[in-house]
């Protein structure tokens, strides 16, 4: 499985649509992965999503993701997990271990959705990665 994560330094970028670099990781069954950073530059929507699809990416881990583009991501076969923060490689590891919470579908529930973070690093951050239901 190939996943991508937009970068902001070594952290996941707050917005996929503004990220200039991504980390593409090929997950292996033994829990390891092979990774390569790539430039997205100022590639506009929807080309940046189509670029991921061309790379064979099927999962996108990100902070913010404009919901307007979610149907396109789905049609391209890319599952988007948003609302994440923290170290990019820790997130890949957590996803690989099945410890990333899949966010609820858009359009359901009330304010505060997407909360219950996935970070866990640094002073003042709350709890570890969530166990997937």
């Amino acid at each position: 499985m190939r996943l991508a994560i937009p970068l902001f330094g070594s952290e996941v970028a707050p917005r996929f649509g503004c990220a200039e670099r991504i980390l593409v990781a090929d997950l292996r069954e033994d829990g390891s992965w092979e990774e390569a950073a790539q430039s997205l530059g100022l590639l506009p929507w929807p080309a940046r999503l189509q670029h991921l699809a061309q790379l064979g990416v099927t999962v996108l881990l990100c902070g913010g993701f404009n919901r307007h583009w979610l149907p396109l991501a789905e049609s391209l076969g890319i599952r988007v997990i948003w609302g994440l923060w923290g170290d990019a490689r820790e997130l890949i590891s957590a996803f690989h271990a099945g410890r990333l919470q899949t966010p609820p579908a858009f359009g359901h529930g009330g304010r505060g959705r997407g909360r219950g973070g996935h970070g866990g690093r640094g002073r003042g951050r709350r709890g570890p990665f969530h166990q997937e239901d």
């Binding site: 902001f8 707050p14 002073r123």
Partner: protein, 465 residues
């Protein structure tokens, strides 16, 4: 405030209509008031301790963050317009002001960010100006307002739609808006540019093929019709298809069935078809180059987008929307366009329509070093007279250097009459080389050679879109 009990400060902050967020020098949130929590969709206790960009998710967080600038310079910033994503990933326009926070000893202990939700203001402003928007479409003209009224109504049915309009007017945006307002919105939106491919390839792309159907068919391949199942299939440049292909497409529309190349059985099609053309299909029907039965099948519901020159009142809201997008894309804090520059745009005929306007603004964003796009940031040929001959005259030295870096060495070649004619035809055909070559009556290879000669290829100029 000197006589106010500090214990009342949280209550006072919560009574404000604006969001108020404070951070420490490492950008960790130290407080968030009620209004801020409502705008961001996050509870204050969940926000505290997190980096501000993790909950603010603005289009400036990664490049051009106002809080960072204030912390670095100590200077307050006002009226910074940004777009954030709330917890539902809904884009929210906000205006931001920042100031540094100092302790009793004068040392910087953090910054405060005050932000207001602009959604209501923008809706009211659009109402007052008559501007409407739908998806990525925006306009104030009667033609566009009628389009915005029709799209949600038309989207509800599965009827085939034909979108007519010149190149660069946003036909795909109309198709996308139809898809997004339809019951098929959860399904895929698949695009096929019919003018870009020769017949056999077009059929293979649309219907798919079985292994061995033709020389290069080494494995079974699903077509776009199958991939669009449950969603919408957008067939662009439908007027460029051959009569043989038109027959096959007609069968899909009439019988809801198709046969992949090399397959023995037919398959059911389950995609809503939206077609688009920049050609006069009715005239093509009259002259016999487009099938009348297919024309009527496609044109169950016709939607027309007029050229931008016929709806100049759409230019200001389009400029605003495009600048918003360019700000997000480039991270540049260019907030406005000057009146004289806007007047130049309003007077231009825009043969390339909205796409041309977008290109002009993109160029202006590259050149502009301040917060306002001025007349001098527009191409000389739009300004007329001495400016047109000057090629960059009026630009500041730093802007001229940028222009030189952006346009040379191919610029001189690209300014020749032959090159400009070629660019005009390419623009008219959406930089599609097959269609351009056909329009010019030359082969694709000859076209490629000419594009190379004039520096219009990748690396030496603009490449095919």
């Amino acid at each position: 405030m000197e006589n106010t009990d500090p214990r009342l400060y949280p209550l006072i902050l919560d009574a404000l209509a604006e969001g108020v967020l404070t951070v420490d020098p490492e950008l960790r949130v130290t407080s968030l008031n009620r209004a801020g929590a409502d705008i961001l969709g996050v509870e204050p206790e969940d926000a505290v301790g997190r980096r501000c960009y993790e909950i603010f998710r603005s289009d400036r967080c990664q490049e051009g963050c106002a809080v960072k600038r204030t912390l670095a310079t100590g200077e307050p910033l006002r009226d910074q317009r940004v777009e954030i994503l709330d917890a539902d990933m809904e884009p929210v326009p906000v205006v931001v002001a920042t100031a540094v926070l100092r302790g009793e000893d004068g040392a910087t202990i953090g910054a405060v960010e005050v932000f207001s939700d602009l959604r209501e203001v923008e809706t009211l402003r659009r109402e007052l100006s008559g501007t409407r928007s739908l998806g990525d479409l925006v306009g104030a003209s009667p033609a566009m307002r009628e389009l915005f009224r029709l799209i949600p109504v038309v989207a509800d049915s599965d009827a085939t739609v034909l979108v007519e309009g010149p190149s660069g007017t946003g036909k795909e945006l109309v198709a996308r808006a139809l898809h997004e307002h339809s019951p098929r919105a959860g399904g895929p939106f698949v695009t096929l540019n019919c003018g870009a491919l020769p017949d056999t390839l077009l059929e293979s792309e649309l219907f798919g093929h079985r292994r061995g159907a033709f020389t290069d068919a080494r494995e079974d391949r699903e077509g776009l019709l199958a991939r669009a199942s449950g969603g919408t299939l957008f067939l662009d440049e439908i007027g460029d298809t051959s009569p043989a292909f038109q027959v096959k497409l007609l069968r899909v529309l009439q019988e809801g069935e198709y046969r992949p190349l090399g397959a023995a059985e037919t398959r059911k099609a389950d995609a809503r078809v939206v077609a688009a053309t920049n050609r006069d299909l009715e005239a093509m029907v009259d002259e016999g180059s487009f099938r009348r039965d297919l024309y009527y099948r496609l044109r169950v519901i016709p939607l027309r987008i007029p050229p931008l020159a016929e709806r100049r009142e759409d230019i200001p809201p389009l400029v605003e929307r495009l600048m918003e997008r360019l700000r997000a894309r480039t991270g540049k804090a260019i907030e406005t366009i000057s009146e004289p520059a806007l007047r130049v745009l309003m007077e231009h005929d825009f043969p390339g329509n909205v796409r041309e306007l977008e290109n002009l603004l993109e160029r202006a964003f590259v050149l502009c070093r301040g917060g306002t796009i001025e007349r001098r940031h527009l191409p000389p040929e739009l300004l007329g007279g001495a400016a047109a001959a000057g090629g960059g005259r009026g630009l500041r030295p730093s802007e001229r250097a940028i222009l030189a870096a952006e346009t040379l060495p191919g610029d001189a070649r690209r300014q020749s009459p032959e090159a400009r004619k070629l660019v005009a035809v390419l623009e008219a055909h959406n930089w599609n080389r097959t269609a351009t070559a056909r329009a010019l009556g030359i082969g694709r290879n000859t076209l490629w050679r000419r594009m190379r000669e004039y520096g219009l290829l990748k690396g030496g100029g603009k490449d095919e879109a």
